[in-house]
């Protein structure tokens, strides 16, 4: 472990660390553009030049390994001059269009111009024109004039997505970033290039011009797109979500997320949301108060014989919801549960996992998706045979498959009583007797368990729309209406119960989850 001195402070560093890495981990800021901790070192922007004793020239901090006894200065006049020079060079041909640039507010070039630049330009020549608003891929817009050629995007496509669409073409001041002919920037991870672009050269088709970034609040959460559960930040303002960004979690997604995952915020704010409880009156669903909805539910579920009830949970529900719904279905309503399958899509060898739902692993571990439960097929058979007469369905997994949807809806319509609890108005509601409007992942608190057994916390970023409530609250009220209220419906209290009662969760509690979660032990 070498010891070196940076700005007069002696620091011990792990072997093989560069000056920049050592500086960052010790709170010394060295400005840089091309260096990115999860990409190979480029060394070309020259912004991180620092002074190292016994080396006559300034040295780039990003590519210089720390050696024992090295003495580094990051704020000498020589260093500051060098930074100023790089800033001036970078701004020569830059359009200086911050007022209309979507990157403004989270732009390194802008930030460093304030911190290290000179307030005027000595460049009297004409600025080099470049392609504007060029759709370099279906989800990414490229503005060549703003590009500083740091090549982070090129390295991302080479090293992380391994799709190799981008390269620097031509040379010298004619250098441009472009795609290879016929290969647009269209990979499953393409929007990461927008995240890592330190300037406004690459912007997201989806996000650009929606909102100024400084108005956004951020809430830590987890992507519900698949069972990988990438750590994310939900960026929102006044109850509306504008984008999801990946959040660093070395155990799950490093600093990346897939393009599809970034879309998972869209259903949260769409206009198919259920906002009021509904009750079937005659042959029409009518808006009612929560009190009335629960009353109707209790009456409906109390009728009938023992054993004719079945509950179906959701692979999208949190661990806490799975746990509480299991209690509701099995203990209070004395029924069975459905052994459902989570929807699947094509997985890859990076972040995208096969199960296209937030918490199938949690559902399995907690047992709402119970091995001893009935399969969907068997459930439908028993409904058709008249053995099952009452059902409580959370979510709409059961009608996801377009091929079987019609038959399943027909069977469900044969039930005496169906409670549907969902975030969106779907065809399932049309066969339900009571519909409870619930909250999406962005509107509630809880935990997901990813495919590798990592439990991570989600937090409420925006309130649920209208009168919609969190699933836990709804289960709580439902239990109360059945005359057997739960002790608590607070997520943190339920996790305490889970950790006592569910195998593997022993170490899990909210105050231990932190930002990156805890891996639970094997089954």
């Amino acid at each position: 472990m070498p010891t070196f001195t940076i700005n007069g402070k002696k620091i011990k560093v792990e072997d093989g660390k560069t000056i920049l890495q050592a500086a960052v981990s010790n709170g010394v800021e060295i400005p840089h553009f091309c260096f990115h901790p999860h990409l190979s070192i480029d060394g070309s922007c020259r912004m991180c030049l620092v002074e190292v004793e016994k080396i006559p020239k300034l040295t780039i901090a990003c590519n210089t390994p720390v050696t024992d006894g090295m003495v580094v200065q990051t704020e000498t006049e020589k260093v500051l001059e060098a930074r100023k020079a790089v800033m001036e060079f970078l701004l020569l041909n830059h359009p200086l269009d911050c007022p209309i640039c979507d990157q403004a507010g989270e732009c390194r070039l802008q930030k460093y111009t304030f911190e290290h630049g000179i307030p005027h330009s000595r460049f009297r020549e004409n600025k080099k024109p470049g392609r504007k608003r060029f759709k370099i891929g279906p989800r990414v817009i490229f503005d060549e004039e703003r590009c500083i050629l740091c090549r982070r995007c090129v390295r991302f496509c080479r090293e992380v997505s391994k799709t190799n669409e981008l390269a620097v073409f031509s040379r010298g001041d004619k250098s441009i970033i472009d795609t290879y002919p016929g290969r647009p920037l269209d990979n499953k991870y393409s929007i990461n290039t927008v995240d890592i672009c330190p300037v406004g050269a690459l912007t997201s088709v989806d996000f650009r011009f929606q909102v100024r970034v400084w108005f956004l609040e951020e809430t830590n959460s987890v992507c519900p797109g698949c069972s990988n559960n990438c750590s994310i930040r939900i960026c929102h303002r006044r109850g509306k979500i504008y984008r999801l960004l990946p959040r660093k979690n070395m155990e799950v997604n490093k600093v990346w997320m897939c393009d599809e995952g970034r879309n998972t915020y869209k259903p949260v704010g769409d206009n198919h949301r259920l906002t009021v409880p509904l009750v079937l009156k005659g042959n029409k669903l009518e808006e009612v108060s929560w009190d009335e909805a629960f009353k109707v539910m209790a009456e409906g579920l109390e009728k009938g014989k023992k054993g004719d009830f079945i509950g179906m949970g959701s692979p999208h529900a949190t661990n806490e919801e799975c746990y509480l719904f299991k209690k509701l279905s099995l203990e209070i309503l004395k029924g069975k549960s459905v052994d459902f399958e989570a929807p699947t899509w094509e997985a890859d060898d990076f972040l995208i996992k096969k199960e296209n739902a937030a918490n199938p692993e949690g559902a399995r571990r907690i047992g709402i998706k119970a091995k001893d439960g009935l399969s969907v097929k068997k459930t439908i058979e028993e409904i058709n045979e008249g053995k099952l007469k009452k059902m409580y369905i959370v979510g709409n997994e059961i009608i996801r498959d377009a091929e079987t949807k019609k038959d399943i809806l027909l069977s469900l319509s044969k039930l005496n009583f169906l409670v549907a609890q969902d975030t969106h108005l779907t065809d399932l509601c049309s066969v339900a007797n009571v519909v409870f409007p619930s909250a999406t992942f962005a509107e509630k608190e809880g935990t997901f368990t990813n495919i590798n057994g990592r439990v991570q916390k989600i937090n409420m970023a925006v309130p649920p729309p209208g009168e919609a409530r969190s699933d836990l609250e709804i289960f709580g009220e439902a239990a109360k209406a059945m005359g057997r209220p739960f002790d608590s419906v607070e997520p943190t209290m339920i996790m305490e119960e889970i950790s006592k009662n569910v195998k593997g969760f022993k170490k899990v509690s909210y105050d231990k989850l932190g930002d990156t979660g805890i891996k639970i032990s094997a089954k």
Partner: protein, 425 residues
């Protein structure tokens, strides 16, 4: 003055193996492979004081000693025959007239460093020269001076000719390696250094053509013989290439430290039409210009450094009174703007800016403060990038402004060129 590098150049068929053997060729390689240990050779080269002839003048023996011993991994030699520095055409003479000198030097170097494969990176425009070189290599293979078990010593070595495609930057050693690997010619950041991580990630040493060509003579005649030639810190003969407004432009083999004034007036026959000498670029386009008043200087690394410039590749470009220094600046800065690989900010933007300002001055749009701006930009391009192209672009501008400031001021004041009969850009 004893010639050894070029003494056979004018002989008929000097490029053939027969002629080379008649003149004592491959004796050094035989001696090295059969009678010397690899480390002895490196020691001998170190002792000789040979410095790289590609421009930077790095001690060759020292460079060779950086290569790891043993043969745990493949190791490579790259021979830099890219010769892309404007004004330089000495390696071309070697390739054309006596390529076996280079091949022999490579075999000795390969043996000394335990290398089994050498790549000669030949400038793309050297079409004929590459053919001549390939013929010579083929001849050497036939005689088993290359290939397996050379001179029955058990040592094997292959040489491959790799032709460039016309980029200045591929003459930078790590840019050259990228190019050999089939990638875009862009210098690599250091560390890692070539001796540890070179071609395809294996230890590699890159030397200039003339550097390798010097080696057989050192082995034949000994380090002490070599050290006596030239100056204390710049040993041996070198091939100066002189061009521009002289009566007899061409290549001349002379000892290091030869007087520049003598080179121009005695060797190259003086200035064309006996015009007045105005300026000399002493070592290729990247070296700082010297005004006529400073040409009484020795052509070696230290003397020229004292004069504020450098020996570079020993490519002397002579300019008489008709040469407009602003236009010289435009030509040089355009070259570097065109050839910058574009990786590093300072070089990519700086080379273009220098050129644009100079063109502005030429076109009558210059302002007085532009002159200091040129110096300021050049200063910020120096010592700040991955490779030395940025420096190479900055130095000529610095030299021109330093020695010919009035001429720049005159251009700006008059809004046009006032030089007599100046050439067009």
């Amino acid at each position: 003055m004893e010639l050894y590098l070029t003494k056979n150049f004018k002989k008929p068929k000097s490029q053939t193996l027969d002629t080379y053997l008649k003149n004592g060729g491959y004796k050094a390689a035989q001696k090295a492979l059969k009678k010397m240990k690899p480390l002895e050779i490196i020691e001998e080269v170190k002792k000789s004081g040979l410095r790289g002839r590609g421009g930077a003048g790095f001690p060759t023996g020292l460079k060779w000693s950086f290569m790891p011993q043993g043969n745990k991994t493949p190791k490579y030699i790259g021979c830099n025959a890219d010769e892309s520095e404007p004004g330089t055409f000495k390696d071309r003479q070697i390739l054309e007239s006596e390529p076996h000198q280079l091949i022999e030097g490579l075999v000795i170097g390969a043996y000394a460093m335990g290398v089994k494969a050498c790549y000669i990176y030949v400038r793309g425009e050297y079409v004929e020269q590459a053919r001549t070189l390939q013929k010579a290599i083929d001849e050497a293979y036939k005689k088993n001076y290359l290939g397996e078990n050379i001179f029955k010593s058990g040592f094997e070595c292959d040489i491959y000719v790799h032709r460039g495609a016309g980029a200045y930057i591929c003459g930078e050693e790590t840019g050259l390696m990228e190019s050999v690997e089939g990638k875009k010619g862009q210098p690599r950041k250091k560390p890692p250094f070539p001796a540890g991580f070179g071609l395809w990630g294996y230890p590699t040493t890159i030397n200039n053509v003339e550097t390798f060509a010097q080696v057989p003579h050192i082995i034949n005649n000994g380090a002490n013989w070599f050290k006596k030639i030239g100056t204390e810190k710049s040993a041996g003969n070198t091939i100066f290439g002189i061009s521009g407004h002289v009566k007899k432009p061409g290549t001349y083999e002379l000892p290091m430290g030869y007087n520049l004034k003598d080179l121009i007036y005695k060797v190259a026959g003086g200035i064309r039409n006996d015009n007045e000498l105005k300026a000399v670029i002493p070592g290729g386009s990247s070296t700082k210009v010297l005004p006529a008043s400073m040409v009484d200087v020795k052509m070696d690394h230290d003397s020229l450094m004292q004069a504020g410039t450098s020996l570079g590749t020993g490519a002397v470009i002579v300019m008489d009174h008709t040469a407009c220094m602003v236009r010289v600046g435009i030509i040089l800065s355009h070259f570097y703007r065109h050839e910058s690989c574009g990786q590093c900010t300072n070089c990519r933007e700086g080379t273009a800016w220098l050129h644009q300002i100079l063109v502005g001055i030429e076109n009558g749009q210059g302002k007085m403060e532009d002159i200091d701006l040129l110096l300021d930009i050049a200063g910020k391009m120096e010592a700040s990038t991955i490779c030395a192209l940025s420096d190479a672009a900055a130095w000529p501008v610095q030299g021109l402004v330093k020695h010919f400031r009035e001429e720049f001021e005159m251009h700006i004041k008059k809004g046009k060129c006032t030089c007599p009969e100046s050439f067009e850009v």
